[in-house]
Structure formats: structure tokens, C-alpha cells
Amino acid sequence: MGFWNTMLAVDRRWIFLLVFLSLLIPMFLGVTFKLSISPEVQTLYDTLEQLPNGSTVLMTFDYDPPSAPELQPMADAAVKYAFKRDFKLIIMGLWPQGPLQAEISVREAMKDPEIQARNLEYGVDYVNLGFQAGNEFVIQRMGTDFREAFPRDIRGTDYSEVPLLKNTKNFSNVDFVFNFSAGYPGTVEWVQIAVDRFGVKLGAGNTAVQAPLAYPYLGAGQLVGLLGGMRGGAEFERLTGFKAKATTFMLSQTFAHAIVIVFVILGNIAYFVTRKKEQ
């Protein structure tokens, strides 16, 4: 009985230490393992595969650096995939730091030799419209005219002077919208306005906290696919062939989850055993 009482009274700092070690040690093991692909990730990838080369894709970066460990890997893979498929990429963000995170993804993509060889040109093959304040009202304005919402791109160039945007007036000129979201405004607002009002095809990458909120939309067909957290990012990396951080860190994630599961089970057993003893 002493053991179970000890389990209930264990200092939380030991648990913190064990979790920290379970995340740290696998980083030095260099082991990656094969991931099964979730249906929602597969459908998202399949939808992208069905887009013809040269399609216009709008990528919205609605997150900031605190959420980057989860969303940056999937964003990096998505940008690399878009460049590989010659998609015309329009980048924007409803969070102030979002477009800057996008710049990181583009820089990362440009390190790939195959993508470098394509000699992609800013303004012709991709453009970053930057951030615009207004939350979901920005999406509403974009439904009528992108230019109203983004009069200039992130470099200050007038919308009408960007070659890529010449024939892009609103959502009807966009073949797919890919949203990376860490909260509000994010996937929920894109579904409510862009999908339900303007009929866009939307795929989303969410933090694991936000992903449960997006599943009802997935079930209702308002989302074509969903990448949930780092695991979703790792699966997407596997499908696109651009394995990076999300795949590398899956082992750490697995170890940490195992530690948590063990303590949850032990804690619950200890709770019921000691309660029974008191009765």
C-alpha cells in the first residue's frame, strides 16, 4: 500500500524530469520508424495530387513562432511540394508573424537542389501578400476582391504590378486553399466564410489543440483533409517525400506519450486502490 500512496504523492518535478529525458534521449538515437497514414492526411494529399501542374494555390499562414514546432514542418513540406508541382503559390497570413513564418518555409524550400534548378521567380511563381488585420473580415473581403484586402504585397509592390496576380481577382481564380492554423483566426473562419460562402476547396494543418475542433468540418465535407499536429506533419512529410523535423521527432513524441500513459495508468490505479483502502 506504501507504493500506491507514494505514487499519489510523487513530486511532480520527477515527472517533469522523466518527460524531459524521454524527449531528449531519442534525439540522439537517430531512429525513425514507418508511420501509418491517417485517412484525413491521405485524402488531403490525394486532392493535391489531382490538381494539375501550374494550379493556383493560396497558402495561409495563421500561426506564430510559439506554434512553429508543430506547424512549420508541415508548412515546409507543403511549400516544397507546391514548388515541385509548379503550383502558382499565393502566400498570406491573418496572424502578424504568419507571413514571416512563410518566408522561413520558402527559404527552406530553396535549399532543395531540385527546386533551385527551377529558377523560381518571386512575383511570377510565388508571391507573399503579407499580413492584414481584420481577422475573418479579411476573408470576407477576399471573397469579392483580393486586391481590396491586400492592396500591396509584403515587399510593398502594388497588387496590379505582380504578374502572378494579374488574373487572380478572388477565390474563383484559386484552385485550392491550404490553411495552417494555431487558433483564431484560423481554420474555423476559413471554413465558415471561404468554404461555406464562396465554395473554395480547403485543406488544413492544425496544431493538435485545434485539430479536434476541425474534425466536425472534416466529417461534414467542409474540409478535404486535415493534418493534425506534429504527427500529421510527419505523415505529410512521408507522403510528399520531404522528410524533415516532424519525422525525426516522432520517436521523442512516442517516448513522451508512453511515459504519460504509464503515469496515467499508475495514478488511476493508485487512486482507486487507496480510496478502496480508506473505505
Binding site: P66, F171, S172
Partner: protein, 420 residues
């Protein structure tokens, strides 16, 4: 005579031959033009290439229920779409301002699609469209449409069913608010957690420690923050009577001024205006994690006996709730953010789940508008419950009995909720 007749016959024959040859030449020339544009040269021969069977235009009309500048082009898919030798890659939509004028591509649709919305038109200008079916070998054009103009509409008839549903719910809310303002008493079920509010304040008073009140991290335009501040009014009334200390760090300046007013009013109403101090409510930062870092610091240093978390929260909620749990405070939380509820349920003593926060706000304030709104929303829930149960039953019966008429009827009613 005979000679003349034979010369005429020969002449006519020759003329006919010339005419026929000429016509054949012209046709050959046409064919050559077609072949030139689509044939593949193989040696000295041009190999004819099969183009896809073109899609046929179906309907070209002004887009319904919009603010103008939009024309919807629909077509019947090419038989080669997803089948046949010349698999369709995409459809291109071309437009011109005159039937014989120059056509430009205004957009494209993937294979399998049968509709495109051209949102770049100018109202009042007549446009002509055709659809080009593209395969790897080239494109084949549909017929050209009749002239069409785009125009705005005042009312979006596609959303009529949504409008009616919204109208019913709004009417219910207005009805109940009206009667609440007239003084009619409405029944609200008991909400667990509300009784704990007084108990929690009493605990803090007995221990001589402060109460920490967190109204969420959104601004006053969020209804959850409004609900949190309403409950603050009730809490402030009790702490003013008991002379309990309150510490309220906030992350929005407008929330700070509103909260100060609320607490000040409570102290004035309790007859103790001198006990009030503006320092009870103080601004930290708008940044989410900066705010929670400072709140955590306050918690471990001041060790409040009671923590209230009532409002809109995001990822910082777990950090706050866990720290509050570690210092042994009694914690009462309430939020309508589904993603944060699990953390509060796990770490707090009492949690107001979702709408219970608004119910608590209405219950404690007794304000007619809040009470009426809550009752009106219950009408919406009844409609949802009846529709879901009723139609599920209908579909199940139709499915078992294979009754087509019953299925059609159920489909019609279900279609009212498609919102498309």
C-alpha cells in the same frame, strides 16, 4: 453540229472536273489546316491525332444571389472525362465581349468539374462563353453561348431556408426577452459550480488570502468576456461585503477599465467606496504567453486561495490551471472554448462547460436580456432535437421498407438544412 455538241460536252466535263478538283483542293487545304494544328509529323507524313470529345455547354447564367460581377458557366462533361482514349486534363473557360470577337481564357476547372464561376465580369456588359476541353493532345471547343450579362440581386434566395431558421430563433429570443422585461419569471435549471462561488469566496476570506480573477484574454467584444465580467459583478458584491482582497490581472485595456468600473460599483453599493483601489485591476500585456507567465508568477508569490477563470481562453489555460492546482487554490473555471474545456475539467474544482458560463451569467445577474436569450436558444435546441430524431427515424423506416416516396419526402425536408 455533232462536233459542237461533243466540244460542249467535253468542255462541261472539263469544267466540272476543274470545279470538283478545286473544291477538293479547298477541302484538302482545310484538312491540312486542321492537320497542321493538331497533327504530329512522322517522317514526311502528318499523323492525325485524336482530340477529346468536347464538353457541351449546359447553362450560362448570371450567378444567383450575389452582388453582381459574376456569371456561372455550367457544362456537360466530355465523355472522355475519366474515360475514353483522350483523358481530359482540364476544362478552360473562354470569354469575349462579342460573339465573333477575340476570346480570352478567364479560368480553368479540373477534370470532373462541371461548373465555373467567372467573378471578373462588369455588370451590364454582354459576354459570350465557350468551354475548351483539354487533353494531352490538344483542345476541343464547345458551342458558343448566347450573350449574358451579370447583375446584382437584393436577396440571396439560395439562403432562404437558413434565413427562416435564423428568423425563428431570433423571434424566440425576442419573445422571451420581451416577457422577461415584463417581469415574467423563467425557470433555469441549477448549475453546479455556482453554489461553489460563495463557498470559494468564503474560503479566501477565512484564510486571509486573495482571490485571483482572470476574465480570459479576449476583449470586450467577445461575449464570453462579457459573461465573465457579469459574474465579476456578483463576485465583487460578495468580496466588498466580506472585505476580501481581489487581484485581477488583465490582458486588454478596455477590459481593465470595464472591470474597474464593475468592482468600484460593487464597493459603492456595499457602502465601502474607500476600500476600493484601482490597483485591484491591472494590465499586464496583450501577448498570450507573456500574460500567463506573469499570472503564474503572481500565483506562486501571492498564493491566492481562490482562482476564477471565466471568459475566453486559448493555450494558456492549462498553464494557469496547473499552476493554480499546484498552489492548492480552489479553482472555478468557465469557458465556451471547446479546446480548453478538457484542461479546466482536469485541473479545476468546478467547471462551467460551454453555455453554462452564459447561463451562470444570466442566473447571477438576473438580467432580462440574458435570461431571454438563454430561453430563446433553448427553442433552437428543441428544433434541432426534433429534426434530428424525426428525420433519422424517417430515414431508418424508409431504409427498412425501401419506400421511395418516403425517402423522397425525407430528402426534401433534409434538403432544407443543406445550407447550400
Amino acid at each position: 453540229m455533232e462536233l459542237l455538241r461533243s466540244r460542249i460536252i467535253i468542255g462541261i466535263t472539263l469544267l466540272s472536273m476543274v470545279l470538283m478538283f478545286g473544291s477538293a483542293l479547298a477541302q484538302d487545304a482545310d484538312k491540312r489546316d486542321v492537320l497542321d494544328s493538331t497533327a504530329v509529323r512522322v517522317g514526311t507524313f502528318k499523323k492525325p491525332v485524336n482530340l477529346p470529345i468536347p464538353a457541351q455547354l449546359d447553362v450560362v447564367e448570371d450567378s444567383e444571389g450575389d452582388a453582381g460581377s459574376s456569371i456561372t458557366v455550367s457544362w456537360l462533361p466530355s465523355p472522355d472525362d475519366g474515360a475514353g482514349k483522350n483523358n481530359v486534363i482540364e476544362y478552360q473557360i473562354l470569354r469575349s465581349e462579342s460573339q465573333d470577337g477575340e476570346y480570352v481564357i478567364v479560368g480553368s476547372a479540373s477534370r470532373g468539374m462541371t461548373q465555373f464561376q467567372d467573378a471578373t465580369t462588369t455588370d451590364g456588359v454582354t459576354y459570350f462563353y465557350y468551354v475548351r476541353t483539354i487533353s494531352k493532345d490538344g483542345g476541343a471547343n464547345s458551342q458558343i453561348s448566347a450573350g449574358i450579362q451579370s447583375s446584382p440581386q437584393w436577396f440571396n434566395t439560395k439562403d432562404l431556408d437558413t434565413f427562416i431558421i435564423g428568423l425563428i430563433i431570433c423571434a424566440a429570443v425576442i419573445y422571451f426577452i420581451y416577457h422577461a422585461q415584463k417581469g415574467k419569471k423563467f425557470f433555469l435549471r441549477q448549475i453546479a459550480g455556482l453554489e461553489a462561488v460563495d463557498e470559494a469566496i468564503g474560503r479566501a476570506t477565512e484564510m486571509g488570502r486573495s482571490i485571483l480573477f482572470i476574465p480570459g484574454i479576449n476583449d470586450m467584444d467577445d461575449v464570453q468576456t462579457v459573461a465573465g465580467i457579469t459574474i465579476l459583478g456578483r463576485v465583487a458584491k460578495t468580496i466588498a461585503e466580506y472585505d476580501t482582497k481581489i487581484n485581477m490581472p488583465v490582458s486588454r485595456s478596455i477590459v481593465m477599465t470595464t472591470a474597474r468600473e464593475t468592482i468600484k460599483q460593487a464597493y459603492v453599493a456595499a457602502g465601502r467606496p474607500d476600500a476600493y483601489s484601482d490597483d485591484m485591476v491591472h494590465y499586464l500585456t496583450d501577448e498570450q504567453f507573456g500574460y500567463v507567465a506573469a499570472v503564474d508568477g503572481i500565483m506562486v508569490r501571492e498564493k491566492p486561495a481562490t482562482c476564477f477563470y471565466l471568459g475566453a481562453f486559448f493555450a494558456e489555460s492549462l498553464i494557469m490551471a496547473e499552476t493554480g492546482n499546484s498552489i492548492g487554490a480552489i479553482q472555478i473555471a468557465g469557458t465556451a472554448m471547446p479546446a480548453q474545456l478538457p484542461f479546466f475539467v482536469a485541473a479545476c474544482d468546478y467547471t462551467l462547460i460551454g453555455e453554462e458560463l452564459f447561463a451562470a451569467s444570466a442566473y447571477l445577474s438576473g438580467e432580462p436580456k440574458q435570461l431571454g436569450s438563454l430561453k430563446g436558444q433553448d427553442v433552437g435546441k428543441i428544433i434541432a432535437m426534433i429534426v434530428i430524431l424525426g428525420l433519422c427515424g424517417l430515414y431508418t423506416v424508409a431504409s427498412i421498407s425501401d419506400s421511395v416516396s418516403l425517402l423522397d419526402f425525407a430528402d426534401k425536408i433534409k434538403g432544407l438544412f443543406s445550407a447550400s
